[in-house]
């Protein structure tokens, strides 16, 4: 008996197929909180195996999870959310979670008094949005999440999670977020100190894809802030800022504002091949740089549509041509060529 209690924080696990059902039965008998936590710990460990995930899902044990949500002990609730988090790492689990009616109780837990519980819930939601159907299902939760963001009494990690969730949902369908005044909220967050938060700006990019979003971005004068962000050290933030600009300059107002703000030199600065880029060893950073270059080229092409922009860019044409010739990467070359094409277009 001592052997099975090697790890006192985990309940003993039965062998083979019996493991998951037995743990759930133990939970069903409602023992005291400590034992429940141990059982949940063991379950979390077991769920890393896809076979067990499948067993849990097909065995219909998710109903019991609903019961556990209303448990009075906060740790038990947190652990249940962690269990769901592990469950959603696998596609079968995600789909089961969506098809079962666990989402409403889960969203009720968002208002839970315990902060760790809320964090776990947000993690689950974020994982759930990896699936497009999941993002669809979470669209109804978007207003609530935005409300949470606005209240700002959450910690950073939670805010980052919420922003990721929101961005995935907004890629699916930006309308709910926009309807809830998303752009102003995100603009407010832009000036947040933490790099982590600013990284989550894909949500802003997602919003600006939709036309109304672009107009709102222009209306609310977010462009100066974005231009300021272009000078940021973190590559991710730069990439995202350029992305938003890229979308915003497709509408005329955006073009005007950008030209007023004198964005062109900054963007042009990104384009030419810098020496450190060639030395860049890290695959990751090279890829991000490539994204940066692509977006800048696209933004320049869009800006070239406006006569003022074209005028300025005609002077800078050699730079772009230099980029075209020396580039091995197909995508960059293509975008540079299209930019040149736009610039040199004459009616």
């Amino acid at each position: 008996m001592a052997a099975s209690l090697i790890d006192p924080s985990r309940a003993p696990v039965a062998f083979g197929r019996r493991a998951v059902p037995q743990l759930f039965e133990e939970l069903q008998q409602r023992p005291e909180a400590a034992r429940r936590q141990r059982a949940l710990n063991s379950l979390c460990d077991l769920m890393h195996d896809p076979e067990r995930v499948y067993q849990t899902v097909t065995g219909g044990f998710l109903e019991q999870v609903k019961v556990l949500f209303q448990d009075e002990d906060a740790d038990v609730r947190t652990k249940t959310c962690d269990l769901l988090h592990v469950l959603t790492s696998h596609s079968v689990g995600r789909q089961a979670l969506l098809s079962s009616s666990l989402l409403p109780p889960l969203s009720q837990l968002l208002d839970d008094p315990s902060s760790s519980c809320r964090r776990s819930v947000h993690r689950v939601l974020k994982r759930l949005t990896l699936l497009p159907a999941g993002a669809d299902a979470l669209l109804t939760l978007v207003p609530k999440l935005m409300l949470k963001l606005r209240q700002e009494k959450e910690e950073e990690e939670v805010q980052a999670l919420i922003l990721s969730t929101l961005s995935s949902c907004s890629y699916q369908d930006p309308r709910p977020a926009l309807a809830n005044d998303g752009v102003s909220l995100l603009g407010h967050i832009l000036s947040h100190r933490s790099t982590n938060i600013r990284r989550r700006r894909p949500s802003l990019m997602a919003l600006s894809v939709c036309r109304d979003g672009k107009e709102q971005v222009c209306e609310q004068n977010l462009l100066p802030v974005l231009v300021g962000l272009l000078q940021d050290e973190d590559l991710e933030v730069q990439v995202n800022a350029v992305g938003v600009i890229m979308f915003t300059v497709t509408i005329t107002t955006g073009k005007q504002q950008c030209l007023d703000l004198d964005v062109l030199p900054v963007l042009l600065d990104f384009v030419p091949k810098k020496k450190e880029e060639e030395e860049e060893q890290d695959e990751e950073r090279r890829r991000r740089r490539k994204a940066l270059v692509l977006y800048s080229l696209r933004a320049l092409a869009a800006l070239a549509e406006a006569p003022g922009g074209r005028h300025l860019l005609l002077e800078q044409l050699p730079v772009l041509e230099a980029r075209t010739e020396s580039e091995e990467d197909q995508d960059i070359r293509r975008s540079a060529q299209s930019a040149i094409h736009v610039i040199t277009w004459t009616p």
């Binding site: 992305g243 300059v249 490539k290 995508d331």
Partner: protein, 337 residues
Amino acid sequence: MAFDSHSQRDANGSYTFSSRPRPVENRSKYREPPSEQMQNYGNIMYDRRVVRGNTYAQHIIPTMVPPDPAETQRQQEIRRRAIARKRAREQFRSGTPEALQGRKHIDVQTELYLEELSDVIVAADIECQTDAFLDKPATPLFIPAKSGKDVETQIEEGELFDFDVEVQPLLEVLVGKTIEQSLEEVMEEEELASLRAQQRAFRELRKKELAEVHQLQEQERRRTEEKGHRIAQQKEVLKKEREVAEKIAARAYTQQYLADLLPTVFTSLRNHGYFYDPVEKDIETNFLPWLVVEVNNSLERRYTAREMLDTIIHDVAQKRLEGFKEPETQPAKPETQ
């Protein structure tokens, strides 16, 4: 007694019956129900009815039924009848006829192989008796003769089981499996990471293309708008031109139409008498009517005069006529002249 038995219908519909084993109760044939409930299911070991011990040469004790006089009588009757029957049977059996005088019947064997029949069984008595048990003497130690070589062997301490050697395969398996699993996990993670990186690259490309699409859309939109404007403008221009042309045409026509308006007007006015010489007009309007009127008047007077004259003449004529008519009656009428 029937309480312990089960009879029921099976699932297939077949009938089964089972009951606990029980010894048969001793009852008379034409029976009354037993007065008291006997100990039917007592232990068989202590049942007095069960025969114990060797039964080969046992005298069969009649059953302990209380002797029923009717029963005994009946049995005696049966015995008597059996004896009588036997006697009757012997009487009617035809045995071999009696031997003639001076002869005797002897049984003879007629088989192939004769055998001796005798009543006396040849028996021999043999006795034997074992000696009384003596104590068995101690068996001498069996020492086999020595043959072959003496060989010794001894197992040293580490020879049967060397832990290090034995544990090696176990360790290999354990470590190998752990490393394999961890390698797999690492590979999976790496695969996931590369997948995600690919996804991200794709997404970026896609965003860029999306921006391009948007831009092209905007372009298209602007162009169509522009086209629309230009077309509208052109239409306006055309319309204006047409209007102007129409105006010019109208103007030319009118001019032409009205070209000889003036002479016509003048002609017609002149024709209508709007341009007049005042003296002439005056003469015409004033003098001539007066003249005509005067002429008329004078003419009228003349006519009146003439008419009067005519009347007078007529009258005269009439009168003359009458006068002429009368003269036929009055021929002496003076001619009034």
